[in-house]
Symmetry: C2
């Protein structure tokens, strides 16, 4: 039999070896060496042409199936030689993979004035999530349904689609916002509604899961708004599928392990400690797997617990955590300001080992950042194990692995790692997955959701993902941290602006949540807009540092005038934006963002010249300075002695080559929230530096960052209620 | 048309008025006045007899369907007169409702020696939970699936089946246990496996959801064990469907609301406070619903915020919580001993309003007790609103309603209220729902799960529910608190005993978790068993106080001898047990508990003469004394001054007529854990008294109760791991 040597893909070869089923008529079947196909393999031929060949036709229209046995190989060889089955193979496979979804979109009938978010959400009946999953090409065993409208997607889909080309990757970022936010989530959702429901292009929105705490404080929901929402919005804003609860449980198990371990070490001899850590079970002492790993790390090459010397016993049994170096905090998904600074361990049973500690909001947990940056279960476990919680008395880092808790953390997080599938108001797919804090962490949704979505939309499709805060923070971290971790290359940036925020940057009066807007914001004021566009221009330039084309999306409010809108678009384009378009998704849904969708499609068709801003091998200080100068426009940075000491320690501990995650206010390009527009000539003060080793970044603190929000005098919860007859939630917005 | 007046059920009439579909051939159709059936109603006739009548037969075998229009009414009248369609109607309906399930049971192939719990669980493939739900008569829209093996059951099923007679109601309780536990959960599961998989009787197990904290501490899982388990056991023991996480979120939102409110009241004038609590929105001030309720409670009959007098403003805006009276604690589902006593509010932002507080384990939250005792969404909301968190400076109770947070708590708990459906190792149904602490709360699974299960099993079926701790605690609370709340009447008690625990009561050496058992427990010792049976006899007598027949289930271990087993059964029957049988479910599954199942069936067929132990109208002290003397065998009780003061306060506040929930050690009938057997002549000291007003009980503390477990030197988590390739959990037991 003549073999062609043109097919040399080792991947294909190994696939055929492993496969139970081989689809022929696909990649040039005549060139596949028959030795690649194992006896016992079922062969399905899906080539249309093959039907007219020797072995097709009959009642089995569309495929020829058979189990290959030794004897059949020659028969198959004959079949493979049939010339007319060749041509359509590859095209067929491509069509199968890249097909446009046949998505049943949900119709909108927008009302005017626009009702409340929860009323809009409730008025739309979502598709059953298993129907949606099927529409976008997920197999039944790749999803785990949670109620009618949420499903987790298993990571096995990545393996199945690993040879599939990725879709286009679009980031939604924003200009420096007012405290009210400028609608990045809404733009993200409006854009995918436009792409899929109106332009018939496969698209996926990837959003962060919001913290539940603020939902009951001042913020309300985070599912988008108006006619660009994720539905049901109450499912989105409450528990979802429990991922944040899993993070809370894992985070606090680790915290409890730290303090309890210190107590036990302080109150027991080496021998007692060792005998408890490696207990007699049915007369035998054995190390657990994670203890063996610790021995290895300590350079003790022994596996029999009875053979350790006294010194080794002590080394193994004592972590000698220095309580003053503990950086691991407890967390709750509740706005509880009274937990910002507490003293723990005051019970008699804790024998006086009390210390000062704090609770952060759950999404500030490093485990959330790990979840957002991981790309597999094995990687997540490794990251969880690497997390540094304190230093020991000799200055060495103490990790979750040292505490023996990595496996348990992984078990607690085993379902949280699967992205959550929901849908927009128009029935298009959305992943809601991970929501790390945007200041002390990187503020982006998960790598895994983006990766799966990029496979599911196919080569011609779009994944629209959102970064927290303004582009100077969220986008910079998206590129330098998230894209570095994922290896994914963005094709376009959508930069969200509002006339309101631009007026503020132009010198308008201050904007405060809960206080009515001044008339500058509700009446036309061309001068303020023109002056404020400096912030937009600067943010466009920041995106261009990374070599990615920018489309400005002007999120239009009903008080914006034509002249104001035109001016913004004009100035944006002059500043180098690929395009700038007004969007009306909030009031009319995806239809209102069709222009934006077209512009994004156009921009993404250009070849991306994406590059990182800095080399991670640079010293920590240099990386911080690069961000401060190139992105924020600072003259220089100024390190406090604490910051310098921490940088020295992390460098010495071997963590100097991690990327930087700046913890800076999002309300100004500088460190001072009241400096609007484009502040110049400032020195950025670095007050302290911390590290999230498991997540994989160093985070310098620019000023103090609150990691635990509070409740106002009249929290949102006064309006939130459940109708016990209809089971409908009221008062969420 | 002649109408019979025999059918006078107003329920039936209103049902026919509302119905879209009427099933005829069911309750004496000839007697249903036609005016009851609305035009537009679809009529389905399911009577077999009807097929031979005038309007049946043909291709639509089994039913006759049609939409009633005005014209058809006379036709229908004729149909209704057909005599031969009458007889089978009622019987048919009854058969439909009470039918035996056609359950596909999962086969067991027990190994010897018995593998670990997680290995057994993993070796069995559970049925898809939607298949199980269908098998037991749940409709598709009555379940919400969570993954492959868990589902929530909607409360609407109670409305659909409200006319269905309940099945038999069986409680599993135990003798005073060793610290290792004597296997009540295992007996519960073995019993339903026997009833349904081996005797073909419909049955349901109703279990508590275990706290996740101890799973990583010392306790391990709580899904039963050996060949009598709920599967998948890791799903049972970890997050489940998030109910405990929802409780944590709700509990802590309320806690944050308390401290924040105190801070805001302390730092604002009446007017500022009022203006924030009733803010100007678009120029208008309006009270929210829960604020209107507070006004009503305060006796202020106004709805316009501008009309309140200064005094009324102050009364409305100030809760004046006395911080020293706060009884509401924060919770976490983590064994974190360092949170047993803490100081909160030490941050600058809290302006010096720090105070001492504590965290309890999440299942100790009153919200868990509310969940376990409620019977509907409306009732849960009312209970949550009634929860008392502190007193004000004038000694009046401050509630969740006063804080305006009831609606938000209800929203957070809206899914948690739905019982969770899982299955046993043999594929029979299990509800896992609620798991209140068994000392400071009543330690029983939910009323709602029991109620739904009683409907689903039908009149001939069995619901087996479990009480925490020994019968002196769990069973007493089951009867006096849970049955009082639910109105359900138990038909039998299964009292679980082990030779091990009896030997301990007979004077055997002490039994400690983690320490190997002494030889008295692994070798035959008839004398110890005989002496220890006093505890069994006493617990039987306690059950008899309530008029319910007792079957003793001897949970057999492999070291128990024939003579020991026979002796226990003999003594139990002599003490008044209806029957006493050895069980072998742990080693061979339901087959090993068939004798127990037969005995329970027999016992439950007797008429129950159930009665409460005390009248709730008695003074609090009398109720406590009754329990102490009649159940524990105390000579009397002794109140501390604190306890007396609290009793006086609760009585004065109008809470004197609630049932009593004793917080006593489970390791002895007395208050001293080391007093085994049947302690006599002791005075039960009541150190303090607390109240769970929302749950609906007063709980006297007998000694100190730890409400936050700790981690040992070597917690279970050292062995817990996830295989990142297979996604299998290792090391849970």
């Amino acid at each position: 039999m003549t073999m062609s040597s043109q097919w040399k893909t080792p991947q294909l070869q190994s696939k055929l070896h492993e496969a139970d089923i081989v689809v022929l008529g696909s990649p040039r079947p005549e060139e596949i060496p028959l030795t690649w196909i194992q006896p016992g393999t079922t062969v399905l031929n899906c080539s249309h042409d093959f039907l007219s060949g020797k072995f097709g036709g009959g009642s089995q229209r569309g495929h020829f199936g058979g189990l290959i046995e030794e004897d059949d190989v020659s028969l198959l060889a004959a079949a493979l030689r049939v010339q007319n089955m060749v041509s359509s193979g590859r095209r067929w496979l491509r069509e199968q993979q890249h097909r446009r979804w046949r998505l049943h979109c949900l119709k909108l009938q927008p009302l005017s004035p626009v009702p409340s978010d929860i009323e809009i959400s409730r008025a739309q009946t979502p598709k059953a999530v298993d129907v949606l999953a099927k529409e976008i090409g997920l197999l039944a065993d790749e999803i785990e349904i949670y109620g009618k409208s949420k499903a987790k997607v298993r990571l096995s889909v990545l393996e199945r689609l690993k040879d599939q080309a990725d879709g286009k990757y679009v980031l939604v970022a924003g200009i420096t916002p007012t405290p009210l936010g400028e609608g990045k989530s809404t733009v993200t959702i409006g854009l995918v509604q436009a792409l899929t429901a109106h332009l018939n292009v496969n698209s996926f929105a990837c959003l962060r899961q919001p913290s539940q705490g603020p939902t009951f404080g001042v913020k309300g929901g985070a599912a988008g708004g108006g006619y660009a929402q994720v539905i049901p919005m109450e499912e989105f804003n409450l528990h979802l599928t429990g991922d944040i609860h899993a993070i809370t449980a894992a985070n606090n198990l680790l915290a409890a392990a730290i303090d309890t371990r210190i107590l036990h070490e302080n109150t027991q001899t080496d021998k007692a400690l060792y005998n408890r850590l490696v207990p007699l079970v049915n007369g035998v002492r054995e190390f657990s797997e994670i203890q063996l790993a610790r021995l290895k790390k300590l350079g003790i090459n022994k596996t029999d617990p009875s053979t350790l010397t006294e010194e080794e016993v002590s080394k193994f049994a004592r972590l000698s955590i220095d309580p003053s170096t503990i950086t691991w905090q407890r967390v709750l998904d509740t706005n509880d300001r009274f937990l910002r600074k507490i003293t723990i361990g005051q019970g008699n049973t804790e024998k006086g080992y009390s210390r000062q500690a704090q609770f952060d909001i759950a999404v500030a947990s490093e485990i959330m950042a790990v979840l957002a940056l991981t790309d597999s279960l094995a990687d997540m476990k490794a990251r969880l194990g690497r997390m540094v919680v304190a230093s020991d008395t000799s200055g060495q880092p103490v990790t979750a692995d040292d505490l023996g808790v990595t496996g348990a953390l992984t078990v607690l997080m085993k379902d949280a790692i699967k992205p959550n599938l929901m849908q927009t108001l128009e029935g298009t797919p959305v992943f809601v997955h991970a929501g790390p804090f945007a200041n002390i962490a990187h503020g982006n949704s998960s790598v895994l959701a983006d990766k799966i979505a990029l496979k599911l939309v196919g080569e011609e499709g779009f994944v629209v993902t959102e970064a927290g805060f303004g582009a100077d923070i969220g986008m910079e971290k998206f590129f330098n941290i998230k894209c570095r971790a994922s290896g994914l290359v963005p094709d376009a940036v959508v930069l969200v602006a509002t006339v309101r925020a631009l007026k503020m940057h132009g010198g308008g009066p201050s904007v405060t949540a809960g206080v009515p807007l001044k008339k500058e914001y509700t009446e036309e004021n061309i001068q303020l807009v023109a002056d404020g566009c400096c912030n937009l221009q600067k943010q466009i330039q920041i995106a261009q540092l990374f070599g990615v084309p920018v489309v400005v999306a002007l999120n239009v409010f009903k008080t914006d005038t034509r002249a104001e809108i035109d001016l913004v678009c004009e100035l944006a384009k002059r500043a180098g934006a690929f395009d700038a378009v007004p969007c009306y998704h909030w009031s009319i849904g995806g239809k209102g963002s069709v222009d934006l969708a077209r512009a994004v499609r156009e921009a993404a068709s250009k070849r991306s010249r994406f590059q990182f801003l800095y080399d991670v091998q640079l010293p920590i200080v240099e990386k911080i300075r690069t961000i401060a100068q190139a992105v924020y426009g600072a003259k220089d940075i100024e390190l406090s002695p604490e910051a310098q000491a921490k940088i020295d320690r992390y460098t010495q501990q071997g963590f100097g080559n991690l990327p930087i995650c700046m913890a800076k206010t999002h309300l100004s390009l500088s460190h001072q929230p009241d400096k609007k527009g484009v502040p110049r000539d400032f020195i950025l003060p670095i007050s302290d530096v911390r590290a999230s080793i498991g997540a994989g970044f160093i985070y310098p603190l620019v000023g103090t960052m609150s990691t635990m929000p509070g409740l106002p005098t009249r929290p949102c919860f006064y309006d939130i209620d459940l109708d016990t007859e209809t089971e409908q939630v009221k008062g969420l917005f």
